[in-house]
């Protein structure tokens, strides 16, 4: 199937030129860590992803995980691939040194994660979820739980899962009904969880489930949910996996995509009750989940980026090889020479580059917040980015992976080219880890209305600064970009004011326009990153840079200009729809559907 070329130089460019990686490391007081080291890390991750994970991607799709006798066997080849991933220490990248991690910045972890996701998304979900459980335990676990579980999870010896969803509790977690009953020094968990990603497999000797459940005395609703840790094998006195716990996968789903990722229905406590341990304090489960949400949600946004880049690479390859029609001199014409095909390819390329830069900017926001003692302002920026990265990038990934099929024409609709797989795999992204609607509501409600638009205004001010810098440049491209971008930022400011004025008095308004605001903010943030890319390119070109080279910089410049000409206008469109507050939406009654 399609080859994968890891975007090592592109990622390095963003880290070095847009994020200021060396400065960030200094702020984080990480000695010896600099862009050269980041480069070496990206290079090696690129090798493993392109040489080991990418070639397995198609096989994983064609040979899904299998369920039999309350156990799941993963797709062939994944166990060995996972072992290589673990042996080479990749699970330890961003984890703290105290528990065996390498303590590298989150932003580098994100750049590396893109490669895992692009090369084999179904597989890469597994370590992504382990990181989630590590974060939960780090933030809220007792010292005892940390000592028992963290080193093994960080080393990748065991994997972690997140057990939130139940048949009656999806987007609304208030309806969680799984119970936890005290039983000596532990709890007995009973209930059923569905859609549990990598809920079971044979790759590691133990699996650590993080589970939301209710204590007997729990208040109703979201304020009565607690977080538990439930190992597949209960640890013996030496901390090694011992007796089989009463938690089993009782079926797996047959899905549209990510066939290599077993999606399990997990039965907790069908027999004697699954042994679980409380994480943190009772009834705090939901707020605890929120502390991990930035990472998990941004991680899914990065999946959208990775899979879009993979689709782009495949589309370019096909467009070069596929010949249709003839030139005037009678020679055959590869379809890449047709402007409409190039429009599709450039939309993908420019979109991917904007997404990559935004994903790294948003991820670095967490590092900058850490470096600044978790200052409120820096943290607010991170929180503002999260629903945009998750919501916009996964929605955009739908279009971009679909364009790959379009470039392939009829052959794209045929499974054997593999173009369809990326499209099918991508379709889960706007659904899991909070649907697009959840992201949009989070953005408009918790991230904008709740603080009166302060965090958003601060972001818009930074954007205005970029627009001003572009417009003040003597470079004609920069001036054109600056004019277009300034207009988009003005629209954003007007939309923000409109929202703050009207949302309090109109009951359904924020819910009705949140999707357009999310998409508008996505395209705007993408434009911001492309504008900063253009500024960096101009500076490097003026300085006769010889790190990236003329060709690389020229491509970046044109891609940025394409964004300002063809993708940034989408921000204007979405802000336009938003402030128009389409009345038809309210008028069409529920029973008229």
């Amino acid at each position: 199937m399609s080859q994968y070329q890891p975007p090592v130089l592109d990622a390095k460019f963003v880290l070095d030129q847009l994020i200021g990686f060396d400065g960030l490391c200094e702020k984080l007081q990480l000695e010896d860590i600099n862009i050269d080291l980041a480069d070496a890390v990206l290079e090696e991750a690129g090798k493993l992803s392109s040489e080991v994970f990418a070639p397995l991607n198609w096989d994983t799709d064609q040979n899904p995980a299998q369920w039999a006798d309350n156990a799941v066997t993963e797709s062939p080849g994944l166990k060995e691939a996972y072992q290589q991933f673990v042996d080479n220490g990749w699970s330890t990248l961003t984890a703290p040194e105290e528990f065996g991690g390498q303590n590298l910045p989150q932003v580098l972890g994100t750049a590396v994660s893109e490669m895992w996701q692009a090369s084999n998304m179904a597989f890469a979900l597994c370590p992504l979820l382990s990181i989630g459980s590590v974060e939960a335990l780090l933030a809220h676990g007792s010292d005892e739980l940390k000592a028992l579980y963290l080193p093994r999870l960080i080393a990748g010896e065991w994997t972690g899962t997140m057990n939130l969803t139940e048949p009656g509790a999806g987007s609304d977690l208030a309806a969680v009904s799984t119970t936890a009953t005290p039983d000596g020094d532990h709890y007995r968990i009973k209930g059923q969880k569905i859609f549990i990603t990598w809920g079971d497999h044979q790759m590691t000797p133990n699996i650590v489930h993080l589970v939301l459940a209710r204590l007997p005395d729990a208040p109703p609703g979201v304020k009565g949910i607690s977080l538990f840790i439930v190992p597949k094998f209960v640890l013996d006195e030496n901390g090694e996996p011992g007796e089989r716990n009463d938690v089993y996968p009782i079926s797996i789903e047959h899905k549209l995509g990510i066939h290599g990722s077993p999606t399990c229905t997990m039965a907790f406590g069908d027999n004697e009750g699954a042994i679980g341990y409380l994480v943190g304090e009772p009834h705090k489960g939901l707020p605890y989940m929120f502390t991990m949400m930035n990472h998990a949600r941004q991680g899914v946004g990065v999946q959208g980026l990775g899979i879009s880049d993979r689709a782009y690479q495949q589309a370019v390859q096909y467009a070069r090889e596929r010949v249709q029609g003839k030139n005037r001199d009678g020679s055959k014409k590869p379809i890449i020479e047709y402007p409409d095909v190039r429009r599709m390819l450039l939309t993908m390329r420019s979109g991917v580059e904007a997404m990559r830069a935004l994903a790294l900017e948003a991820s670095a926001a967490l590092d900058f917040a850490h470096a600044d003692n978790n200052s409120k302002e820096k943290y607010a920026r991170l929180e503002l980015f999260t629903p945009i990265v998750k919501g916009w990038m996964t929605e955009f990934a739908q279009e971009l992976t679909s364009l790959n099929i379009q470039v392939h024409g009829g052959m794209g609709y045929v499974e054997e080219t593999g173009a369809a797989q990326h499209f099918r795999d991508a379709r889960i992204l706007p659904i899991y880890e909070g649907t697009t609607a959840i992201q949009a509501l989070d953005l408009i409600g918790r991230k904008v209305l709740m603080d009166g638009g302060v965090a958003l205004e601060s972001l818009l001010n930074d954007m205005t600064a970029t627009a001003t810098e572009l417009s003040a440049s003597s470079n004609a491209d920069a001036q054109a970009f600056g004019a277009a971008f300034a207009q988009a930022v003005d629209k954003a400011r007007a939309a923000k004011e409109w929202l703050l004025t009207n949302a309090p008095s109109e009951k359904e308004l924020s819910q009705a326009v949140c999707f357009d605001m999310l998409m508008a903010m996505g395209y705007l943030c993408g434009g911001w990153m492309q504008g900063r890319t253009l500024l960096a390119v101009i500076a490097l070109t003026d300085a006769n840079d010889d790190v990236y080279g003329e060709e690389f910089l020229a491509k970046k410049r044109i891609s940025a200009m394409y964004y300002s000409q063809c993708l940034l206008p989408r921000a204007l469109h979405h802000f336009g729809v938003m402030v128009q507050n389409p009345q038809a939406l309210y008028e069409f009654a529920v029973d008229q559907f």
Binding site: A40, V41, E44, L93
Partner: protein, 249 residues
């Protein structure tokens, strides 16, 4: 036993080579550079010998300006214990390289010099043989299997007629062929550790070697582009063309 592994910085094997406009040389500006793949195989073999307990230390040696530190770090990240950089401005000729390596091998008292059979940039395939000559030590070139038994190295060589196994008295020079092994993926913690491993620096003058040049590169040209073929209607026409046009039969 110490193993010395020479490592060369070359254009990455994935990169399409460009020629400078004036035809004076290959254009290496903003080009991805890597460890020569044959050198990488040599590093891997040395590491395996160390891991098997046969060797005590693996020393990477690299000849070139400061920038070659990238390749030195890559070799250290793979697992070499330490490195030596011999500072020279330009890439010396094979004979000079062999003389420099001979001095280092002597200083380090290396029991085995494990190196690539050639570098993929200039494809000389000379240094290993010259080094053996200069040092007066046995050589096992184009190795596909290397075994150390006592004070001997048993080297299976890939020769035209098949495989030949030779026994070399150590210290010896072994040059790696493609099938000797498959180099490992570098581990993340090892990338981090590589920065803290010692890199000694020396010069040709320190080693008492004069960097001379007996060759001059006159021009570099890309291979001629292949002409489009033609279809022939019959075997007779083909034979006719081969006989009268191509004049090959």
């Amino acid at each position: 036993m110490k193993i010395l592994v020479p490592v060369k910085r070359v254009i990455d094997y994935n990169v399409k080579v460009r020629i400078k406009q004036d035809g004076s040389d290959v254009d290496l500006s903003n080009t991805k550079m890597s460890i020569n793949p044959f050198c990488e195989i040599a590093v891997e073999e040395a590491l395996r010998l160390r891991e098997a307990g046969t060797a005590s230390e693996v020393i990477a040696v690299c000849i070139g300006p400061k920038i070659v530190k990238e390749q030195i770090l890559a070799a250290l990240a793979m697992g070499a214990d330490r490195a030596i950089r011999i500072d020279v401005e330009e890439q010396p000729e094979p004979l000079v390289i062999a003389r420099l390596l001979a001095k280092v091998a002597e200083q380090e008292d290396a029991g085995l010099i494990m190196m690539g059979k050639q570098a993929i940039d200039s494809d000389n395939n000379q240094v290993g043989q010259m080094l053996a000559g200069i040092m007066g030590r046995p050589q096992g070139t184009f190795a596909s299997v290397v075994k150390i038994e006592g004070d001997e190295a048993l080297v299976t060589r890939e020769v035209d007629g098949g495989l030949q196994t030779v026994a070399l008295k150590l210290p010896a020079i072994v040059t790696a062929d493609l099938r000797l092994n498959e180099p490992r993926f570098t581990k993340l913690p090892d990338i981090m550790k590589a920065k803290r491993k010692p890199i000694a620096e020396t010069t040709a003058a320190d080693l008492g070697v004069e960097v001379t040049s007996t060759q001059q590169q006159l021009s570099v040209a890309a291979p001629a582009t292949r002409q489009a073929g033609i279809k022939v209607a019959s075997v007779d026409e083909l034979v006719d063309k081969l006989k009268n046009e191509a004049k090959v039969i």
